[in-house]
């Protein structure tokens, strides 16, 4: 497998969706190619950093306007 092949299969590799033979081939390439190893490691870190970041809370006034719109739609019997 060459560098292009690693990039094409990168997502499948990170998601553990590669055929075992292809995975071994890719891992062999990573052992020999420092640049591809960096790209794979950094892409994995990128996903992790986004996942770890605190999501912005729904602003209270946005929530309140949504509830108001729902109440209008659902009628006076709703909470």
């Amino acid at each position: 497998m060459n560098c292009d092949g690693v990039i094409r299969e990168l997502s499948n590799f990170l998601d553990g969706e590669l055929d075992p033979a292809v995975q071994r081939e890719l891992e062999r390439h990573l052992g020999d190619c420092g640049e591809c190893a960096l790209i794979v490691d950094q892409t994995k870190k990128t996903v992790q950093i986004f996942c770890d970041s605190e999501p912005v809370e729904l602003p209270a006034e946005v929530r309140s306007r949504l509830r108001e719109a729902l109440r209008r739609k659902m009628g006076p019997s709703s909470a």
């Binding site: 094409r8 990168l10 996903v47 950093i49």
Partner: protein, 199 residues
């Protein structure tokens, strides 16, 4: 991988909401409002449009609740409505903006051009607020069609199949867009993390 956001009582809540129980529907809304707002923000990049899209998505899901058959997850069904609402608003602001099924899949420019060493914990070099700004800026520059796939697959942990269903695109399109999104975000972060620790 399937997200753990579905609680056991959800089918009962949906059944109650279908039978006219407004409190049950409000409970469903409270579970998903934050996620749907963030999804809409990811697509529209505009807080006002995101709020409108979220509100309309919940109102439409309520109006069409009887059509939800339960053969997919409620969240996937809701995401599809919200994505359409968000895209409609995005197209109004950017008339040349693409539709969801536009082919953005090209394989010719995937190879990263910039690769620098980030060190072991690049994110720890930044204060929370600064890091949040870096991530927001990176995400905002991403094509919305790629951003929505990244959001659903990596942040919301929907499976590839669920994402394809929610967006009405093929599994291969989901995979291709996810790869491109991840690579582009890596490249954007590389501009910060590749320069070593901030002063």
């Amino acid at each position: 991988m399937t997200s753990a956001i579905v609680r056991e009582d959800e089918p009962a809540l949906i059944a109650a909401a279908k039978a006219g129980d407004a409190r049950a529907f409000e409970e469903i809304v409270s579970r998903y409002e934050g996620k749907i707002f963030r999804l809409a923000q990811n697509i529209t990049r505009n807080t006002e449009d995101a709020e409108d899209a979220m509100q309309e998505a919940f109102l439409k899901s309520y109006a069409h609740l009887q059509e939800f058959q339960g053969d997919s997850r409620f969240y996937t069904w809701l995401v599809r409505i919200a994505v359409n609402e968000a895209l409609m608003r995005l197209r109004k602001r950017r008339p040349n903006q693409v539709s969801l099924d536009e082919p953005v899949e090209t394989e010719d420019d995937l190879m990263p051009r910039e690769v620098q060493d980030w060190g072991p914990s690049p994110d720890k070099q930044y204060a929370q607020t600064e890091l949040r700004n870096i991530l927001s800026e990176a995400a905002e520059k991403l094509d919305p069609l790629l951003a929505v796939v990244f959001f659903l697959r990596d942040l919301e942990e929907l499976s590839t199949e669920e994402t394809a269903e929610a967006l009405g695109i093929s599994i291969s399109a989901v995979k291709s867009r996810l790869l491109r999104a991840r690579l582009k975000l890596r490249e954007r972060l590389d501009r910060h993390f590749g320069q070593g620790a901030p002063n």
